[in-house]
């Protein structure tokens, strides 16, 4: 007898182990499979998270791909489903479908300088790639993180950024658009940090994640610095339904973002990014 093929639209129940508030509208959940087992994924992939009775949303995985025991998601509560997710507590159950989508090409970047450019909550989808890079630190030249947030209070994973900055084998540069309180760090857009360099553009791979406008200008700053388009990758967000290439809801030009992305090579999407109607 052949085993039944699992329905790709059927979510797997996961129990919320822990919830940590990162910012007043952003939280990180640690999930474990309710029926036991492990969860494997590649850095950059996402899951469809289902809040029972409310709806489903695509959320990137923000944890360590080397740790299969726990599934980590960092979410900003912006609307119906993400707010319902925010209202859940440890012990409650969510449905998970995935992992879906293309990963950050961390292994293809071996032998290069690796530059991460993140904006706002965009640091969350990049974090698994940063973990993976640091677990293989000797395989890279310089590892540089450029991160921009709106204000010092909006800086995601602040303690982790501080910890990374304390390492001798990684440089971390943080900037805010608006200084508040006692902030004594950089003020200005994240593209200014990119413009200052600190990496060898001819041997650099860059991974960019954040609001689309920020990604466009960051890619332009990287290019201006001498990084070739095929060495730049970015993660796109589009509304999704199935998340796995079945419904066409996420179509973007010739691509389905859920299947051909969310991580795209910049030279393959640069033209699409400039089309307003898409």
């Amino acid at each position: 007898m052949t085993a039944p093929i699992p329905d790709p639209m059927l979510p797997r129940p996961f129990r919320i182990e822990k919830v940590r508030r990162d910012l007043s509208d952003t939280f990180t959940m640690e999930l474990v499979p309710a029926e036991g087992g492990e969860f494997t994924f590649a850095a950059g992939q996402f899951n469809m998270l289902y809040v029972f009775g409310v709806g489903e949303v695509p959320i990137s995985i923000s944890g360590d791909p080397g740790d299969r025991s726990v599934l980590v998601h960092t979410t900003r509560a912006v609307g119906a489903v993400t707010k319902a997710l925010d209202a859940l507590k440890a012990g409650e159950v969510v449905g998970v479908r995935g992992p879906y989508g293309t990963p950050w090409p961390v292994e293809a970047a071996f032998g290069h300088d690796l530059v991460f450019v993140a904006g706002g909550v965009g640091l969350a989808p990049l974090r698994p790639a940063i973990y993976q890079a640091m677990a293989n630190r000797e395989r890279f030249g310089r590892v540089v993180v450029f991160y921009g947030a709106r204000t010092p209070e909006d800086i995601l994973f602040k303690r982790e950024l501080e910890r990374w900055r304390g390492r001798f084998d990684m440089s971390v540069h943080v900037t805010v658009d608006r200084a508040t309180g006692k902030w004594s760090g950089n003020v200005g857009v994240v593209t200014n940090l990119v413009a200052k360099g600190g990496f060898d553009p001819s041997a650099t791979m860059a991974f960019v994640c954040g609001p689309e406008v920020m990604m466009r200008y960051s890619a332009a700053a990287l290019e201006k610095r001498g990084v070739a388009r095929p060495s730049i990758y970015m993660s796109m967000e589009r509304n999704m339904k199935c998340g796995c290439g079945l419904c066409g809801h996420c179509q973007w030009g010739p691509h389905f973002v859920c299947k051909d992305g969310p991580v795209f090579r910049y030279d393959r999407i640069a033209d699409l990014l400039s089309i307003r109607e898409l």
């Binding site: 007043s24 952003t26 904006g119 706002g120 909550v121 909006d154 950089n186 003020v187 200005g188 593209t191």
Partner: protein
């Protein structure tokens, strides 16, 4: 103040004047001086004559606006490898913002009046300097425009505290 030879080296090594012709560089040296600013000292003040610009060599400068009765608003910070100030090249040569040393700052300053006179007399020097300032001004304008966009969505800075404890 450093020797002209040292100043020439500093100019050569600074990204802003990278690749400059040595003859033109020697003309710049005549208007340059090494300077150092302690934390809190001002490199420029809003509304005062913009008689200098700076090649920043080390430290951080806050470009800010004074708001009466409040903390000054920092618009941008600048540091090593950057050039600070372009009001010296645009009439009426008045500084638009306060520029305060946020850390100990080392910089090469250029006397605007001295340099303007040399640029007036030597169009090759004038072109070379403006050729480098114009893209920098364009970049700064683009950055300022991006900065006023609310790129990252609403700030959480003023958001009401939610029921989950901040960690």
């Amino acid at each position: 103040m450093g020797q002209p030879h040292d100043l020439g080296n500093i100019i050569d090594e600074h990204p802003f004047f990278k690749g400059i012709d040595s003859g033109l560089r020697d003309l710049l040296v005549g208007c340059a001086a090494n300077e150092r600013f302690e934390v809190g000292e001002f490199l420029a003040r809003e509304g005062r004559p913009a008689d200098k610009f700076y090649l920043l060599r080390a430290g951080q400068v806050a470009v800010e606006v004074d708001v009466p009765g409040k903390q000054p608003v920092v618009l941008e910070t600048m540091g090593e490898g950057e050039v600070l100030g372009w009001s010296w090249v645009v009439p009426p040569y008045v500084s638009t913002f306060d520029c305060r040393a946020a850390t100990l700052v080392r910089a090469l300053s250029f006397d605007g009046k001295c340099l303007r006179a040399k640029m007036e007399n030597d169009p090759a020097l004038g072109y070379e300097v403006l050729r480098r300032f114009v893209p920098m001004m364009g970049h700064r304008l683009a950055s300022a425009r991006l900065q006023i966009l609310d790129l990252y969505g609403p700030s959480v800075a003023k958001a009401v505290k939610s029921k989950k404890k901040a960690g």
